[in-house]
């Protein structure tokens, strides 16, 4: 995966608390191979009416929201399941940034592993951005400056230092870890010597 330092794109608002992973992608779509693309499943049920038609009032469905890559959301975004498919749905739909006052912890890790920035912003800034995003606007995210600007508003965001570094470098953890192969093998040996029961009796 390639890293990124700044991102320019259309920003939209989703003014709803607690967008959980079951909303981001309902479970019934999760047996689909990733190669088919998960963008089609993003917020699948929430953006539709009971008869299955798209709800024209839902933020993601407006003409101006098409091609959006920055999502401003409310408190507790991505809580719930560990399903990385929730991030695949966002990433495959073209999103690179989600900004909200709080995120599910597992979602945060999954997002960073897929090049999606989970930007923590204050409740007040989230509300101000959501107010300005009654219609979609152009937005700009700067990882190095930890700053997000949308329309005429510019707000700081918080991101864990390691997560920021990973996003900027597009690091692959497996390659990074395998460099430490000898240390891992030595740790394993010491661990088994100290606690032999870590090898299950079979």
């Amino acid at each position: 995966m390639s890293g990124w330092a700044t991102h320019e794109g259309i920003a939209i608002g989703l003014p709803r608390e607690g967008i959980d992973t079951d909303q981001l992608i309902p479970a019934r779509f999760m047996s689909t191979p990733r190669s088919e693309g998960y963008g089609q499943f993003l917020l699948h049920d929430l953006r539709r009416n009971e008869d299955g038609t798209l709800d024209p009032d839902f933020p993601l469905n407006s003409a101006a929201a098409q091609g959006a890559s920055i999502l401003i959301a409310a408190r507790n975004f991505g809580g719930g399941s560990s399903r990385e498919a929730a991030v695949y749905a966002l990433a495959d739909a073209g999103f690179r940034v989600v900004a909200a006052p709080s995120f599910g912890d597992i979602f945060t890790g999954n997002a960073v592993n897929n090049g999606l920035l989970p930007a923590r912003i204050s409740e007040d800034d989230a509300q101000a951005l959501l107010d300005t995003l009654a219609i979609a606007q152009q937005g700009h995210a700067d990882l190095d400056a930890a700053n997000l600007s949308v329309g005429g508003l510019s707000v700081p965001f918080e991101i864990d230092a390691v997560a920021r570094q990973k996003l900027m470098n597009g690091w692959d953890d497996i390659d990074l870890t395998r460099v430490h192969g000898e240390d891992i093998a030595a740790y394993r040996e010491a661990r088994v010597a100290a606690c032999p029961w870590i090898i299950p009796r079979d």
Binding site: R16, G79, G80, I106
Partner: protein, 443 residues
Amino acid sequence: MLWVDRHLVHEGSHHAFRKIAERELAVAEPALTTAVVDHYAPTRARMEGGATDDIRRMIATLEENAAHHGIRCFGLRDLRQGIVHVTGPEQGLTLPGLLLVCGDSHTSTHGALGALAFGIGATEVAHVLATQTVWQTKPKAMRLNFEGRLGPGVGAKDMALGWIAMLGADGARGHAVEYTGEAVRGLSVEGRMTLCNLSIEGGARFGMVAPDETTISWISGRPFAPEGESLDRARETWATLRSDDDAPFDRTQTIDAAAIAPIVTWGTSPEDALPITATIPDPADLTGSRARKVSEALDYMGLSPGRPLEGTSVDQVFIGSCTNARLEDLRAAAAVLSGRHARVPGLVSPGSALVKQAAEQEGLHHIFTDAGLEWVDAGCSMCVGMNGDLVEPGKRCASTTNRNFRGRQGPGARTHLMSPAMAAAAAVTGTLTDVRPLLEGRL
């Protein structure tokens, strides 16, 4: 970077197996890895292939990946099959002091035995498969101290929903939670698993209870657990796995266990929980985003503000899931249902094939079927509906599961979370009901 002692995988791990296949990587430690069929497991007619092509493919993919990498696999025909968070502890794979991960958010369940256990995403699952390690940022420490004793008819599920309602669904975000206090010590290992299981619903990836004699006697004799001299040595180590009396926590919350009543959820987040004696919240009493959220939740749930929760009619019940499908849970439901008839249909899915066997040896299945409920095989079942066990749109389900999210049990499904005893009470009356009067003379 942390060494992983135990890695549990399930059908949903297909993304991770594909990732390592693309890079032609082997599984680093097959003996420390266990595969379990649970999310897609058919609960009816499984030996006759009671499943769709898609479900069969998901299960076959896991079994093929396990065979290819030399990983032990508890498949549909294995008596060890069950929900990964039930079967891991049951088999003695989960032990105090181990670091255990699984691509499932309810992995916190295993913390009940004093393991450091947490859910991870598919990229991390692939990383653990390939390296047996995981990168982590150290979480903050939080102590939830339940002082005093629980009242009759009140259990671990009520403790969990109680604190989540108090602190919010993101209240423990970024924290590892240690559960302490007399009411926690008084719980069985099964009860502690229910408590730790729901940690993630309050935002915490980690929930744990320090191991004690209850833990050790529960572990002894389990198939994969140490025995003899190895067990004696392990016990010495396990006895040291407790927080110092003066250990600092970033946050401590004390809760009076005696004040906890049976709890049910009314909305679309586990934080939307109240004692059964309460009334449904009224958005008119609230302001701003909270008022809007409550209003949307009540609209989805088809509930009227200000009405008592008790007496709300339900269409069906579900007793099962990694939260509440162990033998103790089934006994608690059976204690209410014994000699009574359910007014609504319901499904009882034990947490594992061995739980099912043990329940049948006690005759619990007769109590459920005599009451009119369906007794089926083990799996995640109607908690998440991936195997086809779904709640129909608009139907209201009294459920012992962990998430009342919109559409969780099926598109348009309305879920009320509660304990097994409370779900049994809802079955008997066909409404949300305080179980305590129904338990008089039965406890």
